[in-house]
Amino acid sequence: MLANQEQTNPWVEWQQACVMEQFRQFRRISRLPFLAEKMERVKKGVTPSEVVYEERPLKLLHYPTATPPRYKTPLVFVFALVNRPYILDLKVGRSVVSHFVQAGFDTYLIDWGAPSEADRGRTMSDYVNGSLGNVVDFVRDLRGVPRVSVLGYCMGGTLSAIFTALHPEKVKNLMLLAAGIDFATREGLLNLWSDAKYFNVDEFVDAFGNCPAEFLQSSFLLLKPVQNLLEKPINFLENLDNDQFVEDFLTMETWLNDNIAVPGEVFREFVKYLYQQNLLVQGGLPIGRKKVNLRRITCPVMNIMAQEDDLVPCAQSAPFNDLVGSTDRASIVAPAGHIGLAIGSKAQREVWPQVVRWLAARS
């Protein structure tokens, strides 16, 4: 009888819940001293790699395999300039790179490295026609092939599209992952904040030189302030006693806080020509002494977008397929965010095997 009363009495239930919560809290707090040790164990990239080419501060990583590559055309990953590229090879079971390596592709990844103050004058042309061109030429020479496949992520996707438009003879297949192409949309907050009316990029670059990593980091945090500054820490505290959660959290946070500065001139050109003037889709983006015409891209293209992307909204990537001259065009819209598109479990399960099959059929 008493037991029945206790079960149905909400007041007693609340009391029990509070006591249980206290115990859980003690258990969580007891895990705090081990956090530092766990943080030291966080790996930056899991697939074995070797540096095959260097051009300060750039490094080209190659992922060697025990058996010869199954496909003739090598694949080059081009990452953004704002973060480290190991997000593409974050953890076992969460690695985009490993999908391609295991499928038998000869895979390379560009690590742009952190620019110094001396790099503040480097332009998009230096990156696209210079460094990226050198990497592609190096891989072509190394493997004795006329063309390579390119996969660009985020800003790296934009650079890859520009490179392919300028050097179509060097790219066999182009894959873009959450890449900004048409910046006319005001759906994303970054598009709104970088409006010429509110942000004078010339004054900013003239004063600061390289765009500081802290500035980029705080802007990204502010895109979702409640999620990033409230929900995330609360979730972390609530799951301190869950080892798997803590490991995933620390791995992710290590990468998120591993921002690097963007060379001043690249930042100026990217903001002014793309975010403010949207020149890429108009065929007027000046790179070196040429203007980029996306119609010159005639190779097979795959455009992968994230439905809930707050950094590069779908509306910014989707027009790409209509702007190129290719006839072999495909796109995937995944129910994920900007990062989830690379490391999310659903993307790993559904998106990447599909992309690997697409590329295999064309390599």
Binding site: P10, E13, W14, A17, C18, M20, E21, G45, P48, S49, E50, V51, V52, Y53, E54, E55, R56, L61, E117, G121, S125, D126, N129, G130, S131, G133, N134, F138, L142, L189, L192, W193, D195, K197, Y198, F199, N200, E203, F204, A207, F208, G209, L222, K224, P225, V226, Q227, L230, E231, I234, G288, R289
Partner: protein, 164 residues
Amino acid sequence: MSDASNPSSDQTTAFAKMWTDTCSKLMQAAMTFSPETAPPELLRQIRAGLMQALTHSWEEFLRSPQFLEASKQMMEQAVAFRKMSADLLTKARHATEGATRDDVESLRAALERVESRLADQMEALSTQVSQLAERTGQFAPAPKTAARKRAPAKGPVGKRRRQT
């Protein structure tokens, strides 16, 4: 002078509105749950509702012209402060006969101009050579892009190999 013409007043009003909206949404979220729900689940639901309300309010605020204006002002102040500190450092370094960032920048700009002029001349020469070769039919035309490429020298292949 009316408040409507005062930007700082607009910003304060927008910020106050954001918080008022947030509080009312928080109250609504907290009141929509039944007390019969199990306590931990009820708390989770309330929290999710609160977070959603906060997210919505902040999203609105971050898109408002008032926020954009405030961030513009903040950026202008940061740039002005940076310039002021750079000027001070320049003066101090010049006083001690040291090289400043401006000196390095002007040197870099001068080198870039020289590089650009050389690239232009090489391109013109390349075009002339191509035209001559075409006329005489003796040489294959040189690639036009060779002079345009501004690329640092390639690193040594396989010289620095590292297993990670």
